[in-house]
């Protein structure tokens, strides 16, 4: 006869309470600090997916792996950088990091676009920069008003949220604008041939691109609180904030993000429209190339 009692106490593996006790120590009340092991549990979930992908030959295991590693490294570096900047608490490094994030957002916005024209990177960076910084400045200086104004724990996450959304909008809008212009070339050119100005001929495509770019944020806003609890609010609730406070912040940030997307999209489309048309009311088809 095997004595289960003895066995379980000699082999800690079988003693679940002990195992959990050893690795997953009960946290002090109110703390949400994660250990690296706890992060590892989340990674395991994705690891299982990668195994399934390998078994089924889905061919995305490698991409899951590289994206995971990339994301981990990027966020780890961000953590270290933020730690440094938080400690410094000087405006210059905060603005420097903000500028770097902005440029990267502009470049990433273009990376996902199929059709490009020569100055598209410059335009996308300018559009991201202008929209995100105007909106974030208003949020920081007039709404949140941290002391000092450059408090990195306020500025950096807010800007990050605005940038991430703005870049998605700009990317969708530009992609739609340029591909649709190419697809509807015959229609656009017929309008020009019948006396349309360049704006009259491109207006339809411009509007459609704007609409496409705004759909994700409009969807997010319409299901917020019903289907999903938005990320920022989740974070605040986890950190122990009052639900009403978290909700107020979330509503504010939704407005801010939507405004940043709208400004960024219209700006990037207007610049692109100027770049692919000329004052002779012609479309510069040769400038639009597949990447």
């Amino acid at each position: 006869m095997i004595d289960f009692e003895t066995l379980s106490s000699t082999l800690p593996f079988f003693n679940q309470a002990d195992l959990l006790g050893q690795f997953f120590k009960p946290r002090p009340e109110g703390s949400i600090s994660l250990s690296w092991l706890e992060v590892g549990v989340a990674a395991t979930l994705l690891f299982i997916n990668a195994i399934i992908s390998l078994q089924l030959g889905l061919g995305i295991a490698k991409r899951i792996a590289t994206s995971s590693v990339r994301m981990t490294i990027q966020l780890a570096i961000l953590g270290l950088v933020l730690k440094q900047i938080f400690e410094l608490a000087q405006p210059a490094p905060v603005l420097g990091l903000a500028a770097l994030m902005t440029v990267i957002a502009g470049v990433s916005a273009v990376k996902r676009i199929d059709h490009r024209y020569p100055s598209i990177y410059r335009n996308a960076i300018f559009a991201v920069w202008t929209s995100a910084w105007i909106v974030t400045s208003i949020t920081v200086l007039l709404i949140v008003r941290p002391q000092p104004w450059h408090s990195p724990q306020v500025v950096i996450p807010l800007l990050g949220m605005v940038l991430g959304n703005s870049l998605t909008g700009i990317s969708l809008g530009l992609d739609r604008f340029l591909s649709e212009l190419k697809n509807r070339r015959g229609e656009v050119e017929t309008m020009l041939a019948l006396g349309a100005t360049r704006w009259e001929s491109c207006r339809g495509v411009f509007i459609e691109a704007t609409r496409t770019a705004m759909i994700p944020i409009l969807n997010t806003m319409s299901v917020a609180g019903i289907v999903s609890i938005p990320g920022m609010m989740t974070g605040q609730l986890l950190a122990g904030a009052e639900p009403i406070e978290a909700v107020k912040y979330q509503i504010m940030i939704m407005f801010v993000i939507a405004a940043a997307i709208a400004i960024g999209v219209v700006l990037s489309l207007a610049l692109s429209y100027r770049n692919v048309t000329n004052e002779n009311h012609q479309i510069e088809w040769e400038r639009i190339r597949r990447s």
Partner: protein, 259 residues
């Protein structure tokens, strides 16, 4: 015979930036009221490119004068209303035939009063009737029409705007012979309608790979090869009379007008 040209091209060149190919090479050409010019040449010889340049749809070097005047940037849409490029395949915006026929009149260049400045249902109905198209077609979506009907509607759309010059890029390539005859006849009618008034004379350029059609439709023939004109009917205004004579034995109407 001192009529000023409607369009004067001087050394118009265009090259494709991506391939470096010379699409048009120093083309000089004049189009006068009453002209019916046939543009012939192999595929890729630059016929469409030349027509597009005349409608100022592409960037080119050289000079284009309309009624002996430079066209300012802002005046280009109005110029294109007068000199309409008809693409080989007709294109429409999403919507019914009527919406498409109305579209050009919503452009800024259609503002102002006068013939061809506003959409008039009766005129549109008459135009449809000439092609034996029923008036109900106005309510049909353009994409539901046959290729031949689309070509007719595209022509009607242009004619309603009362242009001075039409630039046809193989317009009947996709039509059966019956539709082609109607199309040709309508253009000849349009061309001769204004003959009484020398100030309102109309002209057209026509490209085609069908020599018989070029013969039927046009008075002067210009041959293109690798972006250049092989025959220069009016390159030099002083020599134009003899050159026109050489090119246009079968063009009674143009001859009569030139006298």
């Amino acid at each position: 015979m001192s009529k000023t040209p409607l369009i004067r091209l001087r050394d118009v060149s265009r090259h494709d930036n991506s391939t470096g190919k010379q699409l048009l090479n120093a083309v000089s050409l004049q189009v006068r009221g009453g002209d019916r010019i046939g543009l012939v040449g192999a595929s890729g010889s630059g016929k469409s490119t030349l027509l597009r340049a005349m409608a100022m749809l592409d960037r080119f070097s050289g000079e284009l004068l309309y009624q002996e005047k430079q066209i300012t940037h802002d005046a280009i849409p109005s110029y294109r209303r007068e000199v309409i490029y008809m693409s080989q395949r007709p294109f429409f915006t999403y919507g019914t035939v009527e919406e498409n026929l109305r579209l050009p009149f919503q452009f800024k260049s259609s503002q102002g009063s006068g013939r061809g400045r506003s959409f008039q249902t009766e005129i549109a109905a008459t135009a449809l009737d000439r092609f034996e198209l029923p008036a109900q077609i106005l309510d049909q979506p353009c994409e539901s029409l046959s290729g031949g009907e689309q070509q007719m509607i595209a022509l009607i759309r242009a004619l309603l705007m009362e242009p001075r010059i039409l630039l046809f890029d193989e317009p009947t390539a996709a039509l059966d012979s019956d539709a082609r005859d109607k199309y040709e006849q309508r253009i000849q009618e349009w061309h001769s309608e204004s003959m009484a008034d020398p100030e309102a004379e109309r002209a057209f350029l026509w490209t085609s790979h069908d020599p018989a059609q070029i013969d039927r439709m046009t008075g002067k023939i210009i041959t293109m090869d690798q972006g250049t004109l092989k025959t220069f009917p009016e390159a030099d205004p002083n020599q134009q009379q003899s050159q026109i004579d050489g090119e246009s034995q079968h063009d009674q109407s143009a001859e009569a007008l030139n006298d």
